[in-house]
Symmetry: D2
Amino acid sequence: MYFASDNCGPALPSVMQAVMDANDGYQPSYGDDALMGEVRALIRTQFEAPDAAVYLVATGTAANSLALSTLAQPWQTVFCTPLAHINTDECHAPEFFTGGSKLSLVGASDKMTPDQLRAAIERWTYGDVHVSQRGPVSLTQVTEMGHVYSLKELAALTGLAKTYRLPVHMDGARFANALAALECTPAEMTWRAGIDVLSFGGTKNGCMGVEAVIFFDPKHAWEFELRRKRAAHLFSKHRYLSAQMLGYLKDGTWRQMAARANAACARLAAGLRDAPGAVLQNDPQANMIFATLPRAAHQRLHDAGAVYGLFAPLKGDDAKEALPMRLVCDWSITDDLIDRFLDILTA
Amino acid sequence: MYFASDNCGPALPSVMQAVMDANDGYQPSYGDDALMGEVRALIRTQFEAPDAAVYLVATGTAANSLALSTLAQPWQTVFCTPLAHINTDECHAPEFFTGGSKLSLVGASDKMTPDQLRAAIERWTYGDVHVSQRGPVSLTQVTEMGHVYSLKELAALTGLAKTYRLPVHMDGARFANALAALECTPAEMTWRAGIDVLSFGGTKNGCMGVEAVIFFDPKHAWEFELRRKRAAHLFSKHRYLSAQMLGYLKDGTWRQMAARANAACARLAAGLRDAPGAVLQNDPQANMIFATLPRAAHQRLHDAGAVYGLFAPLKGDDAKEALPMRLVCDWSITDDLIDRFLDILTA
Amino acid sequence: MYFASDNCGPALPSVMQAVMDANDGYQPSYGDDALMGEVRALIRTQFEAPDAAVYLVATGTAANSLALSTLAQPWQTVFCTPLAHINTDECHAPEFFTGGSKLSLVGASDKMTPDQLRAAIERWTYGDVHVSQRGPVSLTQVTEMGHVYSLKELAALTGLAKTYRLPVHMDGARFANALAALECTPAEMTWRAGIDVLSFGGTKNGCMGVEAVIFFDPKHAWEFELRRKRAAHLFSKHRYLSAQMLGYLKDGTWRQMAARANAACARLAAGLRDAPGAVLQNDPQANMIFATLPRAAHQRLHDAGAVYGLFAPLKGDDAKEALPMRLVCDWSITDDLIDRFLDILTA
Amino acid sequence: MYFASDNCGPALPSVMQAVMDANDGYQPSYGDDALMGEVRALIRTQFEAPDAAVYLVATGTAANSLALSTLAQPWQTVFCTPLAHINTDECHAPEFFTGGSKLSLVGASDKMTPDQLRAAIERWTYGDVHVSQRGPVSLTQVTEMGHVYSLKELAALTGLAKTYRLPVHMDGARFANALAALECTPAEMTWRAGIDVLSFGGTKNGCMGVEAVIFFDPKHAWEFELRRKRAAHLFSKHRYLSAQMLGYLKDGTWRQMAARANAACARLAAGLRDAPGAVLQNDPQANMIFATLPRAAHQRLHDAGAVYGLFAPLKGDDAKEALPMRLVCDWSITDDLIDRFLDILTA
């Protein structure tokens, strides 16, 4: 019963098999491996983006920071929500890679509205040398609270950004889960919705450690290659990144696995809604649930070996006190585990 | 007949097996996996360094740059040779990670002498705010020309650095090959020889992509952890880095494989010395040969499918012109391949 | 009638005279001039801080950014208000000098309370490698809205910072005006109130361009000297910075001029309170007034040649619409000018 | 008898007068002062460059670092000589401002030849992501050894740079002295000779502290303005920078003063050539002499109060030992002082 994060589970069999298969003979290094050609072609096809520049790195923070540093000058600001991973969980990697950009926080939570974005942009006067200069907008899809921007919401935000001539980045660490939630195509959720650059997550949805950065307009391609190398994120034995991504992409595995994780999450959420004392804190649209449970319920789960994000001390006098929690379902969670978890709650 | 680089060959069976074995169940992320505990213990034991701080990253450039940035303030200079990988092959990663350090080049080639190091250090006046401030010394072992510093040479250089209170870093991308060449212990070639921080290479000698950074004095440990995260080099699914390193370290595999690669290189060098028209350019002490061959010989090798570093255009009128080349032997090169290569030369 | 900013007026006669006097003969460069010795001694005396490290730079942004970069590691955050000059008016200089620090915004306006500061600090979990690491607190005195922290308010904030072991910086671009408002000693408003480093403004209160950075604990002195040189803020002909500061400090000129500016501001504020249609937006405790006036009044002032900060278009249909403005009094504003300004309003 | 440096002497009367004259009434801040308009027009006229973008900063290091950071991406290298001020005397300011550029050293002394430059450029392979990327060439005129590139030499170097599409920067901290030596026009020594950006020194030749950065192609103007502000080098009371530059430029004062300094230097050099035991180490083409004198002569000069750069301990047993020295003549050195200096030598 492990719901701590989708970065704690095992990798997909198809990913592992592809890595094993790749471990044969010699291959040119530093991204010139034959497998990378296949990856590039597959992504271009699946995203209906024949000109896209496609790169692989090993961590989500690298994908985000390299992408944003390619879009933002050091004196420009990145617009994101206060809860954006780039703001809360990357130890200033965006500021480091950009050479000193500022994150301008939009709204008060995990999603932004066009009005909030406009207010944040207008906060910095155009053409005034003293202030933060307006730069890229970064949207997280799935958000850090488990919400999903609709295609309409995305279009409204990117449309507004375009009126200010600002590029738009999508942090898609859980891109597949969002896609499964919206039941749309990769193109519809990205370039057709006005996204310029995508951090396309693989790690959380079943890879060992690989993310793609996809530039739908390849004009920044060479700069990105230099930035990736300079940041020590260009792998010499690159074939093992390529292989992971191949095993992930082939036959639509990535979408199937995300759908499975979302379904597991829906099952868990449904159970929680019925569980005594449980209160959902978000509307779990993908694979993450934020909820509260009474301390006593947490204690029972803990004793049974359940692991998840608990944001308060377990020890305490008040057995009924509602303690906040996060539950994440990855591709490998089974119905049995979920039911066992729920049984403990309703026991 | 692939001698292009030791980053083009396959990974070791023991490494791949360890990765497969690690792909089971749930593990805490970001370096808190159980395997990392084993790695830490193994490295401390094998290096006779019970207090060492041990970290894993995925690329050699990350290991070097993170280690150096922990040792050098932005206004301090790093002393290294002109041919050091950090100077020639990392696209300013050391400058980026340190926030603007300068590399002060020592000597004229791949190895430095104490006299050359002293001259370089004395170049920058102590206590003068205008100049580059003296910072760490970085030594590459095996050097980029395939040479190995003797323990005595290392001690002389680190001793000199200590008289200036400068820390010493070792770029050990081919650490195992150097150790095999010197037939000494890891401790003797590092902290006993005055090395403060080691980039301990795994990738070139049979891993998919993992390097350890070892601080023999752990005082910088927390700073390093922050730097690693900030540079996006902390893996969420860290277990796969740990597993590689485990498969590499266990049962001394790493030392056996390096010895094998060095032996292959010696066989190849012996053959080249006898081959008509071949001239060795270095004294190959580990697994790298620099040599020249007549153009006609290169053409024959090329036609037979041999791949290696050729530093001049193959096409040309003068069949006898000596063209420079680099040959690298990794753990997987067989005697048969070497003999076939030599046969073509003497044909 | 020039109320646009205290950086638009002339320099003090005493400052200009000191500069002329300094222009004689030869002087060692780069801060080794004899006048700097006098400056250091005067500041140490006036601040009752015999061990303080004292440095001069030419701009307020340089003073703030160099001071903060000495206190904050790149992975640490600086706590300041949203309206802090370092956040709104320095084009990412703090982020640049620190190598990528983040500004964590405290409260919602120009002053922070201990509760707001505690909430902001607690926002970043101690010891978690993923988040922004807690760093220095920066307080602006006089604030950007013309308010002044009382000694008690300062002590409460610095006391809280100390419980978290965080250093405290004061942006004192208008330090003299705050001192005049509080009628206390420099020591009381700085190190006795828990301030560790002060940006001590000279420019706005009558110098051509000079600010002191004062470290009450000199442990960072050498690092600051390196940072100042590396940022190109060490003047070769440093005597002209020293001379300005001398002309400013001698005989308490700086405090008299600030008192004069504050008095002028009080006269202007009193007049505004009585003026038809004028509404004060702040409680002007030093030399800055935020207010609104009907458009028609702005038009009359404009026609008469008055200059000040007008934060809305002058042109417009509604003559009665209240348009926001900022008025700043520097040392050179005369009662006559103020009365003339007020006469226009009441005309 | 002060020959230590041209940054130890007084400022020109015309510069001081202009500063005094500027200290009247109110002026818009941050470069919008009326005087800056005059400066811009004067420089454009004197350089025959009607489109040039012209900016003022207060230090030579700021001028160089801001100019170079505008030309060089962080992954690009700057080509300069080992003795270039940007390499030896700016405490990594170029590396800091560029965000981690590397200085690639050309030749072995203070001047570079086209062959040396070509070799340095060819050192870094075009289009290889691993290496330092080719960036701007920086030439110092007058060099740090008192030499002057001829117009033909400049054209050869800039012509070579253009074949590689590399921009060329000139560090003209002693631009006026070079111009006086070559007896050419400012245009001939800059844009007509292929210079793209000039650091135009004022400080060493009689200002308190002001340098212009002149972009002959204004395409980088806005970026430079942002970089200047972000580096805290935009002055609020900018008029005092403008005034200095005006007093320097008006009526050709700057050229007359440089000619005077060069003439003084020539007189001193001639005397040294005749002085017993003196050996010139450079061919002093502008206002700097490098020479050796016997220790005894140094002692006599020292006892008489002469001050200059002595690069060895004065104390020593061997009275005849030749000790190296540097002598710089600024605009204020008189024939009397020089003759007195020479008299001591020949005494």
